[in-house]
Symmetry: C2
């Protein structure tokens, strides 16, 4: 083993922390870039900077994978690329189906990052018969009637949902029933799945709202005093409404009531429930 000294109890990979797993792709990307520049080794300090994390965290992360570095020297770039790829399961081919070929689905189909790391778009599926057969990003769209057949034939275990929210759950159910056990969900809905199925969600609107929260904070700080939001006369009038402009159920909302104890600012407590 020329080094196998770090003989670990075999079961070492039993339990890589989730937070670490989430960073492995980041390290891998940075390492791939170094590899392309033919850089032979990196220190934890350098690699951490390239990946946008701090070096202690990176070393700790790598320690869960094993002892792949050399003290006094650093990490061998190619070796690490391979080890991380293997750990992530990227040394095998992952066929993926994308369901819902609207604007977003089409963009995903054409996204280079998809094809680049072991992921292969096995099929594009849409419920609209008008789409059937039409090539998107070079791949002909198939009708959702054939969803089960496609998944079974290709042995697809990863599905991407890019449908409208309203049908996401049923699409999800069909995917799962057909054998998919990992789902990447772009629809703004909470999906429920049986045990053993993983779901990760990507939600644009949520990301923006988180940014808005911090942005608002910044604005408040620099403005010194409050300044903040215009005090609404009745809180219920403030909703954007987007789809269905839901008539505000009215409800008493007569204003007046004393506010909840700790209004972050002297805002308008408006109404109290009940």
């Amino acid at each position: 083993m020329a080094t196998g000294r770090t003989h670990r109890p075999a079961t070492r990979s039993r339990g890589i922390p989730e937070a670490t797993v989430a960073r492995l792709p980041l390290y891998l990307r940075a390492l791939t870039a170094l590899s392309e520049r033919s850089v032979p080794t990196v220190s934890s300090e350098e690699l951490a900077a390239a990946a946008g994390v701090n070096s202690a965290k990176l070393r700790k992360d790598f320690s869960y994978l094993g002892s792949y570095g050399t003290r006094g020297v650093g990490y061998d770039v190619e070796y690490l690329v391979y080890q991380i790829s293997r750990e992530l399961g990227l040394t095998q081919d992952w066929p993926v189906v994308i369901v819902g070929i609207g604007n977003l689905g089409a963009a995903l189909a054409g996204y280079g990052g998809f094809a680049s790391r072991g992921f292969r778009v096995a099929a594009l599926i849409d419920a609209d018969p008008a789409m059937t057969g039409k090539p998107v990003a070079g791949i002909p769209v198939q009708h959702s009637d054939d969803l089960e057949k496609i998944i079974e034939e290709d042995g697809v275990s990863i599905g991407v949902i890019a449908t409208p929210a309203g049908v996401a759950q049923q699409v999800c159910d069909r995917l799962v029933a057909a054998g998919v056990t990992s789902i990447l969900n772009f629809a703004p809905t909470v999906l429920s799945v049986p045990d053993g199925v993983d779901v990760r969600k990507v939600d644009l609107s949520i990301e923006l709202q988180i940014l808005a929260f911090h942005e608002q904070r910044k604005a408040g700080e620099e403005a010194g005093a409050d300044s903040g939001t215009a005090p609404p006369a009745a809180y219920q009038a403030g909703e954007p409404a987007a789809s269905g402009d839901s008539a505000p159920s009215g409800g008493g909302s007569a204003a007046g009531g004393k506010g909840g104890r700790k209004g972050p600012d002297g805002d308008v407590p408006a109404v109290m429930p009940a």
Copy 2:
């Protein structure tokens, strides 16, 4: 990110945990759905189920905002919608620019969730002169030469980067220089920004890789021992094993479909660095 230096309490010592902030949009979505169905109140249990979290977590989250519930009854839906919207800063209008109108940028421009909650697409910007003036999702694309002017005139503080990775950092720099302080990054790159600027990233490829990790684990478990990892012929050789792009693709690795691998202890030290 917070930078360790807390300028000053400025506003009330409202320290809402980051994890809580990230869930507020989820609660808001569930509440909005209830509101549209004119449901007057919800218990933490019901709302938690709708949002896909557990009720203890939800109650704790809400406790950071204040005491907005009624014991023995639950939460007033409309009231909570307003309080959360306000906390997130959604009672004001947030103009957003999208830079990079390729497939993804165009999909984002047309995404309903964008417009729906106080976010307004103020401008679409692209470096390609051929795109200038062309309407995408009803909004004419503007040339990136005008980026600074657009941001300043509209008072844009949130920018979305949907450009190729290669130009993302420079776009980011220009956005920040022009006054943007929150960035949603879709380019697969680590962006560096000055203190006080928030960056959130959305990376498709990373999400898929995380799924692949877990998927691989599942396959390995159910398949029992199973074949070992194919030992890499020579990942280090003299040259980058898989330079160029796309690592594993290409021939080799046959292996149709899933089929597991992953020896739990597939150590395979094979070669060591140095």
